[in-house]
Symmetry: C2
Subunit: 377 residues, 2 copies
């Protein structure tokens, strides 16, 4: 017996040992999922659990401390930061416009999407709202980094530079924001959606003038949608209006205010008003009705989002349907893979949207919509 | 000169020294608010700030470490726990019923109310959802106690005993739950609302039979509403139906299912169906329409909540308006006073509700409702 033979069992050549990364790759799930399953730490989806256990068996993987360490390192909390008017502002608006709370609907559904996806992985959500007029919420957001595993920022919370600084410390996903080299942005396809809508009203209907009623001036969604309407108008060689007189601020009260001023100042009303979102379109339609204008016969009005009320109003609202809840869910899912240590494959994920032709563009005669009737035609 | 005279300036009798409690009482605000103002810790309401500073000046109060200690002790986070179907369940329902996501509307608006009130005090919200089928979420809730200053529980999260145990460790407010000796419950006036509604359909309209389509069996709101309808039916000496055949589970799909089964089994349809909430009423109306019944001419249908879509559907929905967002805000405000160390004055706070008479009960001829038109008549 040689020395070599004696030592062989003890000092065999280092073979690349299996890690939970190998299990994750084989199972086709995130390493956080592997960690959770192996620690019985929370309640993963049964399907995820099966895939992980099958991969463990297949590979002959023996878990060591690593999986446990990752799992216990997680706070199982993601922070979500968004801008919301302070309650006083809301109350003042509410007197003027009964439905105003709905302008926040889009945000609530986004957050619901995030929350539902987070629940599947056993994560809680730390919701933090920032007043729309607060200029430097960076300190507040930075405090959240210590309380969570990752952060989702709605649009207009931080500047791109602020996002990059934050992303040095913690994974960051933005919703309807701007992609940066350090974060991932999730957004609906504003360009295609707004171009299709503008081509529909100018091309299919043949209307001869158009305005864009804008949302918040610094919202990337708003800027992109306005540009798309302008470009289509130019392609058709038709008059286009936008600018400070057309600022609807995403709210019904804001939309109504624009129309009121337009009429009081005796300026002509364009044949089509493309609004930055559904809520401001509802305000526009309401004010036009109050002033004796018919929609769509005198003025065609369109929205963006397809909030649930859009199909029920009269005239029912032609709009662009965004998969709002899915946008939120995807934001969590993307953040979750980043928390698991994966590098995101893309800096921006664009989800498809769809024009929904209803009555407010002049597409079909107004009939009382049946409850729950399918709304995409 | 006597010894006494010498010592007097040094050992004068202890006078009760001023504390932030005195400032809070004089200013008429919570001690947490005093603490925040004195530390410049976050951004209190300007009005609150003025009142505190005026009280400080009036009393000649010199802040010591106490205010600072309270403020730094606060995590400035409240947890909110609610039950939500897991995403898989939702997806399955969604195929059958396009609007199903709206059944969660009530919960989202409650949470928005909490969040808006919390923002005013600089608090964030830790949202944690529990699957509707999870039987013992106590461990999950207990974990949240370590991460927050107080907990708000939606209905059916914990049993009353579970609430009492939790309230030993941390201030607890329940929403639409059951009052306990250790927690405060915030709720709409279900009894008055449902009694008024039932008296309207049986008294004013003179309909001759009524059913209660229930929500979740273990929801306190549901039990109280059902009992109110039954009692009014008995007072009128009219036939009343409820029970397992009438379980709508608060969802449109659930409401539609009840009607489908009723018709398929050839059982008679009562003249009025009082639903536990708006969402299930929408499902009931939709299924009745599909089967060729007219609402309200053949069957009158009513809801509860007054979600925003209720006024826009056809026929517009007669319902009971709850101040949903206000319920949420009050839950936070109550919890906030408890966090500040005040004993709550009441174990249950009941907010008034209001019957909203629209078309689905037969009250007014169906006309296309104008967008944004006032809905309470």
């Amino acid at each position: 017996m040689t020395d070599e033979e004696i030592h062989l069992p003890h000092v065999r050549k280092p073979v690349p040992s299996l890690t939970i990364y190998d299990v994750a790759r084989t199972a086709g799930v995130s390493i956080a999922s592997v960690s959770r399953v192996l620690n019985g730490h929370s309640t993963p989806r049964p399907e995820t659990r099966d895939r992980v256990l099958r991969a463990v068996q297949e590979l002959g993987f023996v878990p060591d401390g690593a999986a446990r360490a990752l799992s216990s390192r997680l706070k199982e909390v993601v922070s979500v930061v968004f801008r919301r008017p302070r309650a006083e502002t809301q109350a003042a608006d509410a007197e003027e416009f009964d439905d105003e709370a709905d302008s926040l609907f889009f945000m609530d559904v986004l957050n619901r999407g995030i929350e539902v996806a987070a629940q599947l992985e056993g994560f809680d959500l730390l919701l933090s709202s920032v007043d729309v007029h607060e200029h430097s919420p960076g300190g507040k957001v930075a405090k959240l980094a210590g309380k969570s595993d990752g952060i989702i920022l709605h649009d207009r919370v931080l500047t791109p530079n602020g996002v990059i600084r934050l992303a040095d410390r913690i994974p960051v996903v933005t919703l309807a924001g701007t992609p940066t080299r350090a974060s991932v942005n999730i957004v609906g396809d504003n360009v295609a959606g707004m171009r299709d809508l503008a081509k529909h009203v100018l091309g299919d209907h043949g209307y001869d003038s158009i305005a864009y009623l804008s949302g918040h001036g610094d919202s990337p969604d708003n800027l992109i949608r306005g540009k798309a309407v302008r470009e289509v108008a130019e392609e058709f060689g038709l008059p286009f209006e936008d600018g400070p007189n057309w600022s609807g601020e995403y709210s019904a009260a804001g939309g109504a205010r624009v129309i009121r001023r337009l009429i009081e100042e005796g300026r002509p009303i364009p044949r089509v008003i493309c609004c930055a979102n559904d809520q401001s379109a509802l305000g526009v339609i309401n004010e036009l009705h109050r002033r004796g204008y018919r929609v769509p016969d005198d003025v065609a009005v369109t929205g963006f989002d397809d909030i649930s009320v859009a199909r029920h109003v009269s005239p029912s609202l032609t709009t662009v349907r965004q998969p709002i809840e899915r946008l939120g869910a995807l934001a969590f899912e993307t953040l979750y893979t980043m928390i698991s240590g994966e590098r995101p494959a893309e800096r921006q994920i664009v989800l498809p949207v769809q024009v929904v032709q209803r009555s407010s563009c002049g597409c079909r005669p107004e009939t009382a919509p049946a409850v729950g009737a399918p709304s995409v035609r």
